[in-house]
């Protein structure tokens, strides 16, 4: 996916600047849950593509070793979440809507802070490509928008109120201090790879949710 198509998506989507609290009489933009879900899915797709591009870019620039070694993430694992996320299709199909939305929200919130770290880490590199830095920054912004959208969805679809990401999950990533450049490069590469995986998860969950909204039967019995 080229950068051009990403930009087009950005232009199409815009931002999910939906005020969350309409009780105080401020003007709220009313949008139907279906359209909101579409916008959220578009965000997730876009984030996923950009994450894939960022990961590839980072590997080309900073990881001189052959990519096949990286395809072997045996030693490197992404930080596990505080709750298990089903990873087979059958299990995922059995997840309730509530679970799907909550999972997405958790995933989004878990990546906001690491991307901030990633930005500072990229600045430390001498020859970080401007493209990569821009993509990273863009992802950070879009993660916040995505979080807002999912919160509204939860409220509308589940009639639940959730808290915004004011708390920080306990991260498996230790603070970046006193690490050698090679380690930091590997760590960042791993981070991008893991993020790409989680972005795919978010997209998949949201699409499944969408499928259920349109045609519940066909989605369940595929």
């Amino acid at each position: 996916v080229s950068q051009v198509s990403v930009c087009c998506m950005l232009l199409c989507c815009g931002s999910l600047a939906v005020p969350l609290d309409c009780n105080d009489g401020t003007s709220c933009i009313s949008i139907s849950p279906e359209k909101l879900l579409d916008r959220v899915i578009q965000h997730a797709e876009l984030i996923y593509r950009v994450s894939e591009e960022s990961s590839t870019l980072f590997e080309k620039m900073f990881v001189p070793i052959s990519p096949s070694a990286l395809r072997n993430p045996g030693g490197k694992v992404c930080h596990s979440k505080s709750f298990p996320i089903p990873n087979t299709k059958s299990e995922i199909q059995q997840i309730s809507d509530k679970w799907l939305l909550h999972s997405v929200l958790i995933l989004v919130q878990s990546w906001i802070e690491p991307f901030l770290y990633l930005q500072t880490s990229l600045e430390q590199y001498a020859n970080a490509p401007g493209d990569l830095v821009n993509k990273t920054k863009w992802v950070s912004d879009k993660l916040l928008s995505l979080e807002q959208g999912v919160v509204v969805l939860i409220r509308k679809m589940l009639d639940e109120g959730v808290l915004m990401s004011s708390f920080v999950f306990e991260e498996a990533l230790s603070p970046y201090d006193a690490q050698s450049p090679e380690e930091s490069v590997l760590r960042d590469s791993n981070l991008l790879t893991c993020f790409k995986k989680d972005a795919h998860k978010m997209e998949t969950f949201l699409k499944l949710l969408k499928c259920r909204e349109t045609n519940k039967l066909s989605c369940l019995f595929h």
């Binding site: 593509r49 072997n72 045996g74 596990s80 996320i85 087979t88 995986k197 997209e203 045609n215």
Partner: protein, 587 residues
């Protein structure tokens, strides 16, 4: 379900190595398979010698392959329950008896997904170009049924390729997320082969190509193809014609010159027209004398040579009036004698004879001044010796000598002969050169003149004339010396080629008071200076009369319109009045 016969990812490692994984693939992100080979170790080919163990992040212990495919050798199949996406797997190929791990392979499932080929590929014709040489098609397909795109489990993008049949190069089009694509610019009469494959978006692994279809559009012999051609031809021809017309009009002058060249003015061979206009008289005379037609004897055949015959009724009146009067047939007594010039045969020569001229005018113009009587004829006195001439109107002291009214014999005459005098009987006495020679006085002069003078008279076809100065001197009372410019300069110094005859029509008139008169005397003796044969007309006055002396207003015998006045003539070069110059002078 269809077992993909795939030689999965060929390992680039040493082919002579031991047992190793040859690849793992997933078709729909729900199941996957792994294959291995025994390598060069032949003792491990029996089934069960090699075993596959895997480990995921979820389960920390190694588990054995859940399903060794019975029909396919060396394949391990993981079904839906054992396929965890977003989870990294590690495979190990072990030989259990020896507890040797020959190979290890780690991956995550979504990274090994190679989707199945799309199905239902077909094409429809979009349009054919006007020339009938190109066409566009729309190609359609459907997602592979194994891929759950509806749920969004897999987001697929497709790639269409086409080629001319039986060639080796495939044209690839851009990735398409939908299930249709247009192909533009295909050639008619060529068979195309089209197929499509897919992959997961944002992943790198393409699936297999679908079955290819043949796209072919027969070339329609377009009847319209000739129509634009004819239009183009017509417009081209019209454009060219317009261009030609414009060119002709813009270059009209030049083209006229090229295609319709100006008709050359009549030329006489060897004679330059400019010389005739502006040259000196002597040059002209030499020029003309060199012409063949003016050789002696040629004049006989010229039909236009005309001889003036004078017809005087009363020769006896000569004694009473001047010779000139006799010449013109007039007397103070108002004789009605009129000399009839044979103007009937006038071919081309302007005859100044106008019978309508009132007699008194003629009388006045013809009355000579008596002062000339007895004196040496002005003509005679002024002629320079360097200008030999035929004896023109020569007076002699023997002016009273009667002249025999002899008919001049025209044969063997000079080309020009000047009338020297008139007999009272009305006969014309010619200058030396004529056979009926005048009195002896003239003879010597004749010879002298004959030898010296070459006169070219035929300058204009419309007749001869007397040079102005000559005429002036004919009539002048005062023997004033005309000066070098006014002498008988009209005669070239060259000797005339004999006297072939004469062609005298009339005598140019002079002033009223200075009547030109021709003394019917015998040609003068040698004392008489040669007189120019003719006078250059210097001017034409308003009455269309030729003025031989521009300083004095003169009337002419030829006056046709007595009341007109002409502007003064420009300073004439030595020579004669050309017709065009004459034309310029007419009012």
């Amino acid at each position: 379900c269809r077992q993909p016969v795939i030689i999965a990812e060929i390992s680039l490692d040493n082919p002579s190595r031991g047992p190793h994984f040859t690849g793992c693939r997933s078709r729909e992100q729900e199941t996957f398979r792994c294959w291995w080979s025994t390598g060069i170790f032949q003792n491990l080919t029996q089934p069960g010698a090699l075993r596959v163990f895997y480990q995921t992040k979820n389960t920390l212990e190694w588990q054995e392959c859940p399903d060794y495919t019975p029909t396919v050798q060396n394949e391990c199949y993981f079904n839906k329950t054992f396929t965890h996406i977003w989870t990294s797997y590690c495979m190990q190929l072990r030989s259990v008896p020896q507890n040797i791990t020959y190979d290890e392979h780690c991956f995550t499932v979504e990274n090994i997904v190679h989707p199945d080929p799309p199905i239902g590929l077909n094409w429809t014709l979009l349009n054919v170009s006007r020339s009938g040489l190109h066409f566009d098609v729309l190609v359609r397909w459907a997602a592979p049924p194994s891929a759950d795109v509806q749920m969004g489990w897999m987001s697929l993008v497709y790639q269409v390729q086409y080629r001319v049949r039986n060639t080796s190069h495939w044209e690839s089009l851009e990735l398409e997320s939908g299930t249709q694509q247009s192909i533009y610019g295909l050639h008619t009469d060529k068979e195309y082969e089209v197929w499509v494959r897919c992959k997961m978006s944002a992943f790198d692994n393409f699936g297999e190509f679908s079955d290819s279809i043949i796209v072919h559009v027969a070339q329609i012999p377009s009847k319209e193809s000739t129509f634009p051609t004819t239009l183009v031809l017509v417009f081209g021809v019209v454009g060219v014609v317009i261009l030609l017309i414009l060119l002709v009009f813009s270059q009209q002058q030049r083209l006229m010159v090229i295609f319709l060249p100006p008709i050359p003015a009549p030329k006489i061979k060897g004679i330059d027209s400019e010389l005739l206009k502006n040259g000196k008289l002597d040059q002209l005379n030499s020029l003309l004398s060199s012409q063949e037609m003016y050789k002696p004897g040629s004049y006989h055949e010229d039909p236009w040579v005309e001889f003036i015959q004078l017809d005087l009724d009363d020769p006896a009146e000569k004694n009473e009036s001047s010779d000139t009067q006799h010449l013109l047939g007039l007397s103070r007594s108002g004789s009605s004698h009129v000399i009839h010039f044979k103007s009937d045969d006038d071919s081309g020569r302007a005859s100044c004879y106008d019978p309508e001229i009132p007699e008194d005018m003629l009388t006045a113009s013809l009355l000579p001044g008596n002062s000339g009587r007895g004196d040496q004829h002005p003509l005679v006195s002024r002629s320079s010796s360097s200008t030999p001439s035929l004896t023109a109107l020569q007076t002699s002291e023997g002016a009273e000598t009667p002249i025999k009214p002899t008919t001049p014999s025209w044969a063997n005459m000079d080309f020009y002969a000047q009338v020297s005098d008139f007999t009272p009987a009305g006969e014309v006495v010619l200058s030396p050169g004529q056979l009926n020679s005048p009195p002896e006085k003239k003879k010597e002069d004749d010879k002298k003149i004959k030898d010296d003078v070459k006169i070219q008279f035929q300058l204009l076809s419309d007749g001869a004339y007397t040079s102005e100065n000559t005429a002036r001197q004919l009539a002048a009372d005062v023997p004033s010396n005309p000066g070098p410019n006014q002498g008988y300069q009209t005669f070239p110094p060259q000797a005339v080629e004999g006297n072939h005859g004469w062609n005298v029509e009339y005598l140019a008139p002079v002033d009223v008071s200075q009547m030109p008169y021709l003394l019917p005397v015998a040609p003068p003796a040698s004392i008489l200076p040669p007189v120019s044969d003719y006078t250059v007309v210097q001017e034409v006055d308003g009455q269309r009369s030729l003025l031989l002396n521009p300083s004095t207003p003169q009337t002419s015998v030829c006056t046709h319109s007595p009341n007109k006045q002409l502007p003064a003539m420009p300073n004439m070069p030595m020579g004669y009045l050309t017709p065009d110059l004459l034309g310029t002078l007419t009012p």
